[in-house]
Structures are given as C-alpha cells and as structure tokens.
C-alpha cells in the first residue's frame, strides 16, 4: 500500500465525505417532515387526498432515484425551478426518502395492537392525541429501526447525486482512482469514511432504540 498517497488524498476525501454527510443529513431532516405529511394525508377521510398520497408514494418509490435527480435537475429549470446541484440533491433526496419513510412509519403504527387505540379513544382522546400519547410511543421501537435502516440507505445512496455533478465521497474516490491508479488505497480510505459515518448513524439509532424500549425492560 502506498501510505504517502493515502495521507496526501485524505483531506480531499474528507472534504467530499463532508458533502455526503451534509446532503444526507439535510435530506433526512426534511424527508422526515415529508414522511409525516404523507402519513397524515393518508389518514384523511376525503378519498382524493388519500389517493394523492398513495399515488405520490407509489411513483416516487417506483422510479429510480437517479432518474428523479436528473429530471428535477435538468427538467426543473424549464418550469422555472432552478436549483444548484447540492440543493437539488437535498431536495430530491428528501422527497424520495420521505416516501419510503412514510411507509416505514405506517407499518410501525399498524403493528400496535388495535386494543390500545380503542382504549385511548374510549377515554376520550382524539385521533391526534391517541396517536401522540399512546400509539407512537409503542410504535417507536419498530419505527426507529426501520427509519434507521432508511437513514443508512440514504447515506449510501447519496453517492448517486454525483450524477448531477456533486462531488461527494464515492465520485471523489473514483476520480482519484482515475488519476492515481491506486484503487485499493483509495477504496480503503473511502470505505473507512463510510464506516465511520454509518457507524455514527447506527449509534444514534441504537441509542434511540434503547430509549424507546426502556419500558419493556423495566
């Protein structure tokens, strides 16, 4: 292994890793709100609103992320929606992962025994309050796990934003390999960085999961 080279390119990769973190974190943050919105829309009684949400989820999950990126990035300006590459990555990322997340949240909510909702409703709690005080705390463990998986997916799929010329970790690594012909060294470095990032995400998930399951191990 060429350690000198590794030392030399580390700052470049760290810089790119930061882009990866930035894009993923912001997508995750906004995506969460998108997901909540979608879950909320699906609870409407007015059918067209529900259909809209289902249709959105279906289309977004059904088409590849990179195609969405390209269409928004290049198609957007023609309808007056011009974003710089990173913002476009965040935007599409959020709306993409939001669809998946809403399904994960829905699944977790449905895993809670219906007797719990009934009991809460019979006390007089409204739908929202039942959700907040009774259902969500019990859905939390599964939700944290499944949303957590999506957070990890997001970090890894953020490499796709390179297609709209964002220089993130994977593309930077490929460029450096292209010029140095040292795949082993550079892949090792970038893999290490991914491991650090994802490991941090896993740590957060684990902490949240432990918190959410405290009462079951009381």
């Amino acid at each position: 292994m060429d350690f000198n080279l590794m030392v030399e390119v580390t700052p470049l990769l760290i810089e790119a890793a930061w882009v990866t973190i930035d894009v993923s974190a912001r997508s995750m943050f906004f995506g969460f709100f998108v997901a909540c919105g979608l879950v909320f829309l699906q609870s409407f009684r007015f059918a067209p609103i529900r259909w809209f949400a289902r249709g959105y989820i279906s289309v977004v999950r059904g088409t590849p992320y990179f195609v969405q990126l390209l269409l928004v990035f290049y198609g957007g300006p023609s309808i007056g929606f011009r974003l710089d590459p990173i913002m476009c990555g965040v935007f599409v990322g959020a709306f993409n992962i939001g669809a998946y997340m809403s399904e994960a949240i829905r699944g977790s909510i449905e895993s809670v025994d219906s007797g719990q909702t009934e009991a809460a409703r019979s006390v007089g709690f409204g739908k929202v309050q039942t959700m907040v005080s009774i259902v969500l705390p019990q859905a939390a463990p599964l939700m944290i796990r499944s949303v957590g998986v999506l957070a990890i997916v997001l970090v890894k799929n953020s490499s796709l934003v390179s297609i709209i010329s964002v220089v993130e970790l994977t593309y930077q690594a490929q460029r450096l390999i292209g010029s140095t012909y040292k795949p082993l060294e550079i892949f090792t470095l970038s893999a290490l960085m991914y491991i650090v990032i994802v490991y941090a995400v896993m740590g957060i998930i684990e902490l949240a999961y432990r918190r959410a399951t405290r009462y079951t191990t009381q």
Binding site: G62, Y65, L71, S111, A191, Y194, Y199, M202
Partner: protein, 217 residues
C-alpha cells in the same frame, strides 16, 4: 428540449433483456435477503452470543460499507483467489446487503411479539426453536410486511449498481444505448416507466399480503 423516442424503440429489446436480468437478480436477492435476514435476526436475538458475534460483525460490515465497494471487492478483490461470475457477485453482494437491513427490521418486529405468545407455546411443549419457528417468526413476519416491502422496492432499483461490474441489467443496457444515441432523457423516462411497472406489481403483492394477514394480527 425535443423528445425523440425513435432510438429508444431501436434499443427496446436490449432494455427488456436488461429488465429480465435485473428481475432475475432481484428475485434471487429478495429470497436470500428475507430468509437470511430472518435467520440472522433470530440467531442474534435468541441464540447464544458466541454464535451471534461473528454474524453480527459480518452484518455490520455489510451495513456500513457502500454496495459499490462490496461489489468491487467481491469482483476484483477476490480475483486473486477465485473468480466469481459477475451476476453471482451481484446476487451475493446485494443479498448480504439487504439481509443486513431486513435483519434489523425483523429484530424489531420479533420484539413486538408479546412474551405471552412465547410462554403459551412453551407451555404446550414446543421447544425454544420450534416456538420461534411456529409462533414468533410468523407473527413477526406479518408485522414486518410494510417495511420489507419498502426494502424490496429499494432493492429492485439498487440492482442497477450491478452495471458497475458489467452485469447487463436495465440501467447498464440504457447507459450503452445513451452513449451511442445521446438521448438520455428519453431513455431515463422509459427506464422509469419500466421500473414503475415492476413497482406496481410489487405494491399489489404487498397490499395483497397485508390484506391476507390483517385478521391474523
């Protein structure tokens, strides 16, 4: 921008072939990752620590590193000792990758099955393993359906990563066609449509499964 779908028609058979290859991989991966994920989850929750440690490390490794790197490693890195065919590399790489994700889901849903269920089964005389197999796993599986559906839908599109190791799936086929014809958007739209058709079938399947199991909760 003007659209011209003529070139797409020329390459349509190639695209369909790519779709076929991708679907084949997806089916294999779905099987591997769901069954494997279940096994991993069960082992890491119920079976002793000694077995589960190496397993967890293995899963951890696949969870933390990008798919592309895993594929490169399996494809080129192992090249010095063994040449695994590209499509098999793809199935293994994607399979282990999603196995890790699914395991995480199963770990959570298994824990939502109440202790009472375990106890009731044990009291009939079922052993630890039999209880997991007949009682815990089916219930955990039912609760995991929405999340599994999510993962599998993600996975189908991740089969495109296999183009990096030369597996001629849909995206790979289109990349070739695009570089020849320079009609990217037409191809991307068609790809999106083709994927969407698959997705509709998967969603229907998921909805069907959810309906079939709704009264079994």
């Amino acid at each position: 921008m003007e659209f011209d779908f003529g070139p797409v028609m020329t390459y349509f058979p190639t695209l369909l072939k790519g779709l076929g290859v991708g679907s084949l991989v997806a089916v294999a991966v779905a099987f591997l990752s769901v069954v494997g994920g279940l096994v991993v989850a069960v082992i890491s929750i119920y079976i002793n620590k000694v077995v589960s440690w190496p397993l967890r490390f293995f899963i951890w490794l696949f969870m933390t590193t990008p798919l592309l790197l895993q594929l490169y490693f399996l494809y080129f890195g192992l090249g010095e000792w063994i040449l695994i065919p590209a499509i098999l590399v793809g199935i293994l790489g994607l399979g282990f990758h999603y196995m890790a994700y699914n395991a995480d889901i199963f770990i959570a849903t298994i824990k939502t099955v109440s202790d009472g269920q375990y106890e009731a089964s044990r009291s009939i005389g079922f052993g630890h393993i039999a209880t997991i197999f007949y009682i815990i796993v089916p219930q955990a599986f039912i609760r995991a359906i929405p999340q599994l559906g999510n993962n599998m839908i993600l996975m189908v599109k991740d089969t495109s990563v296999l183009s990096a190791i030369g597996v001629a799936e849909l995206v790979h086929a289109s990349q070739y066609a695009i570089s020849v014809t320079f009609r990217p958007f037409e191809f991307f739209i068609v790809i999106a449509l083709l994927y969407y058709v698959i997705n509709i079938f998967m969603e229907l399947g998921q909805a069907w499964l959810e309906r079939q199991t709704a009264y079994r909760r």
